[in-house]
């Protein structure tokens, strides 16, 4: 089931980049467990306040983390929002962030279940 949400190849590449030690990958994932929700909180706040600049930067950050962990759908959703912010034309930012929130939860759950061995 996790394979649908997580691109295992991307995750393998990340592991290779950081030197192949699963403990290091575990460390990064643990950090994502904290950073993910807090970034989402920033996105929710800025979406409500219509602060597109902050929304863009936090979408960009979450996007790049999502890509590293192979959370393709989450990354794509963040990228779309980032581009929209950049263009200054965001349709219902709160709803978009809500969609990202769902993707984040799915990705976190899938990452917990994933096994590279």
């Amino acid at each position: 089931m996790s394979d649908d949400v997580i691109d295992i190849e991307a995750l393998r590449r990340l592991l290779e980049v950081i030197g192949g030690d699963p403990e290091d990958l575990e460390e990064l994932l643990e950090e994502f467990e904290e950073v993910g929700p807090s970034t989402l909180k920033t996105m929710q706040d800025s979406a409500s306040a219509d602060d597109l600049d902050t929304l863009r930067i936090s979408s960009h950050g979450l996007k790049s983390n999502a890509r590293d962990f192979g959370a393709t759908a989450l990354a794509t959703a963040c990228e779309d929002l980032e581009h929209a912010c950049k263009a200054g034309e965001v349709e219902d930012p709160v709803a978009q962030v809500q969609a990202i929130s769902v993707e984040l939860d799915r990705a976190r759950a899938a990452l917990k279940a994933v096994s590279l061995s």
Binding site: E16, I18, L28, H60, N65
Partner: protein, 513 residues
């Protein structure tokens, strides 16, 4: 964790580099640090532009991995700031960018001086290749800069040589010459040849200095050696010591100040400088002259001249104790040899039955002591900016002014002239001798030092004996002649003081100039 050795693109081991990772995203930061460390390098992290610049200012890095999109101070700001600082300008920067949507950013970053770029989701081979390329470029640039720096220093050294300064220290090539590569060997050859030339020239200069000094020593001795003989002749013509001193000093003063005035070198003096001349006048103009004139009434001129050689030993003892001059064993030996010669002569004349004569001989020893004090005062305290003629003239004038009232009240004022008799000619001669011997002594002390100058006492002795024999028909025993030989050996052993100033050799290396 077991760190693998750093490898370059061709898989060869390279030295570990120090990398700065700049990213506002904590997970990215950690990932980059792990990736860099995985390649065998060390990494520091900065979470924004400001932190990055501070790190770059305080430490030296071999490369920077820089995120572009950061709040407040972004990657572009960091790049432009880095290019403004000499210290950071040449540290290669690899910008990290999500290439898909940031092509413009990458272009801009490269225009701002970034060395390369890396997509956010890179694989390790790519990181190794890009980082490796940047690092080898940096290493090559560093080597190049170091090499050019050394060439620049060699060129500077060549310019120093062209300026005539061969002192190896002024070339400042020591660290360059210690490098074991062609440029280092060139520097070593350069320095070696300069040192050889410098030593040769130094030896030559020392020889010339010794020759010049020896000549002056002989001249001083010859002229000053006349004084005992002349004053003994004068005392035979019915002069008195005080009256004679006034005339001789006044004539010397007029002679010297006349020349100084003609050369427009009459000085303006500060109070402390004026006091120097007062002291000098008391030592040289009054005490020395009066002692000479009084003693010559009782002691033979040749004898007095021999006693004067004690001066050399006294000056050396003072100069060595006070650290004014170098006290080498050779110089010490020379002075002892000279002293032995004098003692030998004194021994031949010391007559236990003649108490009065012995007392006068002992009193005569005050004279070399006064000469010694004068030499040291001149060497240490003389106001260097004052013209030599003005100096001697002023001293003589002051001593005349101090002696005159004394002579007036004691009734010792001598009237000379208007008809020119033997005494008048004698006094005139003594005035000129007094002035020129002081001028020569002054010059010798200034150029060769007090210890070497004091060797003039030996020449003075020889001259005094010869003048005594020529003018007064005095005779010396064979033992006294042996003593002379010993004194001359002593003089040879004491070299002039070596000069501290750097030797500059005038020579042209440019064919066109």
């Amino acid at each position: 964790m077991n760190k693998p050795a750093a490898l370059d693109m061709t898989g060869q081991q390279v030295t570990s580099a120090h990398i700065l990772v700049v990213d506002d995203n904590g997970i990215n930061r950690k990932k980059m640090r792990m990736a860099v460390e995985n390649l065998g390098h060390t990494a520091d992290v900065a979470k924004n532009g400001l932190e990055a610049l501070n790190a770059l200012k305080s430490q030296s890095f071999d490369a920077v991995l820089l995120d572009i999109l950061m709040p407040e101070m972004d990657g572009f700001d960091v790049l432009s700031e880095m290019k403004q600082h000499e210290r950071m300008r040449d540290v290669p920067v690899i910008v990290i960018s999500a290439l898909d949507d940031e092509t413009e950013s990458v272009v801009k970053a490269i225009e701002l001086g970034a060395e390369d770029f890396l997509p956010k989701s890179f694989d390790p081979v790519l990181l190794r290749a890009r980082l490796g390329a940047s690092l080898s470029k940096k290493r090559f640039r560093d080597q190049e800069r170091e090499y050019f720096g050394r060439i620049e220093r060699l060129t500077e050294a060549a310019e120093v040589l062209e300026g005539g300064r061969f002192n190896p220290e002024s070339l400042d090539l020591d660290d360059l010459a210690n490098k074991d590569d062609p440029l280092g060997r060139l520097a070593a050859v350069f320095r070696g040849m300069a040192a050889e030339i410098y030593e040769r020239e130094l030896k030559l200069k020392k020889m010339i200095l010794t020759l010049q000094g020896s000549f002056l020593v002989l001249a001083v001795g010859l002229v000053w050696g006349l004084t005992p003989a002349l004053s003994r002749m004068a005392s035979g013509l019915g002069s008195n010591p005080l009256g004679l001193a006034i005339w001789v000093n006044a004539l010397a003063a007029i002679f010297c100040l006349g020349i100084a005035a003609y050369r427009r070198k009459l000085p303006r003096l500060k109070r402390s400088e004026f006091m120097f001349y007062v002291y000098w006048a008391i030592i040289a103009g009054i005490l020395q002259r009066m002692t000479t004139f009084v003693v010559t009434e009782h002691v033979e001129a040749a004898m007095l001249s021999l006693i004067v050689t004690l001066q050399g030993f006294m000056v050396f003892a003072f100069a060595a104790v006070t650290g004014m001059e170098r006290a080498s064993p050779r110089r010490l030996l020379g002075l002892f040899v000279g002293l032995a010669g004098v003692s030998l002569v004194l021994f031949t004349r010391f007559d236990l039955s003649d108490g009065a004569q012995n007392a006068w001989l002992l009193f005569a020893m005050a004279l070399p002591l006064l000469f010694a004090v004068e030499a040291l005062v001149l060497a240490g305290k003389r106001p260097e900016h004052v013209d030599i003629f003005a100096s001697v003239g002023l001293m003589m004038a002051l001593s005349t002014a101090m002696l005159a009232p004394w002579a007036y009240f004691s009734g010792d004022l001598m009237t000379l002239g208007p008809s020119i008799g033997r005494l008048e000619i004698l006094v005139l001669l003594m005035g000129i001798v007094g002035a020129s011997s002081l001028l020569l002594a002054f010059h010798l002390i200034a150029t060769a030092g007090a210890v070497f100058y004091s060797q003039s006492a030996y020449a003075m002795t020889i001259a005094g004996v010869v003048w005594g024999m020529l003018l007064l028909n005095e005779e010396l025993s064979p033992l006294a002649w042996i003593a002379f030989a010993i004194i001359i050996i002593g003089m040879y052993l004491v070299e002039p003081k070596s000069s501290d100033e750097e030797l500059v050799i005038k020579r042209n290396f440019n064919s066109e100039s």
